[in-house]
Amino acid sequence: MTTLSITELSKELRHAIEQLETTGSLDEVGIVMRVGDGVAWIHGLHSAGYSEVLQIETDDGIVEAFALNLLEDEIGAVLLGRDMGVKAGQTVRLKGTVLDVPVGPELLGRVVDPLGRPLDGGPAIKTKQRGIVEREAIGVMGRKSVHEPLMTGIASIDAMFPIGRGQRELIIGDRQTGKTALAIDTMINQAKQKTGVINVYVAVGQKLSKIARLVERLKQEGVMEQTIVVATSPSDPASLLYLAPYSGTAMGEYFRDNSQHALMIYDDLTKHAVAYRQMSLLLRRPPGREAYPGDVFYLHSRLLERSAKLSDDLGAGSLTALPIIETQAGDISAYIPTNVISITDGQIFLETDLFYQGIRPAISAGLSVSRVGGAAQTGAVKAVSGSLKLGLSQFRELASFAQFGSDLDASTKQQIELGQRLTELLKQPQYQPMSIWQQVASIAAVTRGYFDEVAPSKVKDAQAALLTKLWADHKKDMQELEKGGKPTDELYAVIEKTARSVVKGFAG
C-alpha cells in the first residue's frame, strides 16, 4: 500500500467517525435491580464484557462499577466508590472500556488511589498515557532470564538470598516481624545507591497513619522523588483494595516497557485475598477452602506474572516484585501463603523468635530461599558469601543442640563461635542500607577469619571501626570494590591488614 492511500484511508476513517459522533446513536442501557454492600445487580446490558466499566446515573452524578458476574438474567457489578447514592431503578450504561489508570513519570512522588486520583492534596495528575489495570503478562519470547542484581542494601539478603531484577521474592512472616521495614529499606537503598530503580509501593488496606508515616520517611530519605505510592485504607470499599495491586502494576509496567527498572511492593497480599473473598462472597460465588473462591490462586498468579525481565528486543526493562504475606503464628502452610510461595521465585521468611531475640532483620536462614537470584548476585558479594547460608543454618541447629551439654569438641565450638559472629554481623538497623563495599568488607572479615579474636558481642563495634578505617585510608580501593567485581588478592590483603589492626581493641 502506498503512503498516499494510507493518508486517504485515514481521512475517510476520520470523516466516518465525525459523522457517527454527530448523528448520535442509541446507547445500550440497563437498570439497577438491587444494590448493597458495594455490589449492584443490573438487568439488561446483554453485550457487557467481563471487567467492563459500567456507569450508573445517580442523583449525585455518575458512579462507576465494573462487571464481574455475567449471568443469564443479570450482571453482578462491583462499585468503585460508595453505594450510598445508587438506588434500584437507576439507569446503567456501558462505558465501552475496561478499567485503566494514568501512567507515566508524572506520577513520581505522588500518593494516589487505585484509580490514579491524588490523595496527597497535590494538583490533579495529567499524564500522556493510560495503562490497562488488568493487562496480560508478557509472553515467553518477550522475556530474558534474571541476571542483573537488585541490591536491597540488607547484607543478609544480598549475601544469602540475592534478588535479581525481574524476580518475584516473597517477604513472609507474622505481624510485627519487620516485613514492611525490609521493603522500605530496599526502596531507600535504590535512592542511596542511585540505581535508578523506580519504586511503586502498593498499600492494601493499610492504616492511613502508617501510610502517612511511610511517605514522610521516604521524603526524609530523598526516595519519594522516585516513588509512587498507591494507597488504600481499611475503610475503602473492597473493590478498591482488590484493584490496588493491579493498578500499581500498570503504573510500574510503564517504566518496565520504557527500558527502565521498577520495583513493586505489595503490602500485603493477605489483605488483598481477604478483599477478594469479600467481593466473591457478595457476588454469591461458591466458597472453597477458608471461604476463598476457587480462583484465588489465579488472583495472585496473574498479578505476579506481570513482573518480568524483558528481552533486549523489548528494551530490556524489568519489573521486580516484593509481595508481602502475613502469616498467623508462623504457619506458612496456610492457604494463601502456600499459593504465593509456589508462585514466587523464592521467599524471605521472618521469624518472631529471632525478632524478639534482637536478631533484626529476623530472617530465617533455613526457611528462606532465592531460586533465581544466584545468577544475578553481585560478583563481589558472591565471592565472600559462598558458605554463609550453610554456616548460619548449621550454627542455629548446633546452638540449640549445644544448650544440652557443655562438652563440645573444638570444631563444633569453632563453628558455634563463627555462627555467633555471623549472627551479630548480619544484624542491621532500620533505614541504614549497606553499600557493596561495606557488605564485602564486613562479611570477608568474619568468614575469612580476620575477626576470629573478636568477642561476638563486640563484632558490630569492630565492624564499624573497620568500615570507618577502610574508607578513611583506602577510599580508592573501596570505590573499586563498589563497582561489584570479584575482589582481587590485593583488595583482600587491604581488608585483612585493616581488620587485623582494628581487632586489637575488641578482643574477647
Partner: protein, 132 residues
Amino acid sequence: MAKRLSRRILAAHLAAAVEDGDAKKAVKQLAAHLIETRRIKEADLIVRDAEQQLADRGVVVGTVVSAFDLSSAMQSALQTMVKKETGSRQVTLVYRSDPSVLGGFAIHLPGKQLDRTIQTHLTTLKTRFKKA
C-alpha cells in the same frame, strides 16, 4: 407447586402471545404463575424482558420524554429515526413531557436509550468537575 421457570422463558412466552394478539390470556397466566411461585417482585423485569424480545422480533414500543410537547414534524422525524436505527418493522412511541429534563429529549427503547436532555448533560458535567 408449579415448576420454576426462568425469566427469559416467561418473557419469551409473553412476547409470543403479544405478537399473536393473545396478550390478555398470557398476562393472566403469567400473573398466576408469579403469585404461585412467589415472584411478584420480578413482574417489572419480565415485562422489560418481554419488550426486549418483542424488539428483537421487530416490534418496538418506546417512550419519548421531552421538557415540552414535541411538534408533529418532530415526532414523525423521531419515528423515522428509531425505525432506521433499530431496523424494526413496527415502532410505537409514546410521548411524554417532563419539565425536570429541562430541555432536549430522551428516547427510551427496550434495552436502548438516546438521551439528549440537558439534565443528563448537567449530570455528566457535575461528575467531571467532581473528578477534577
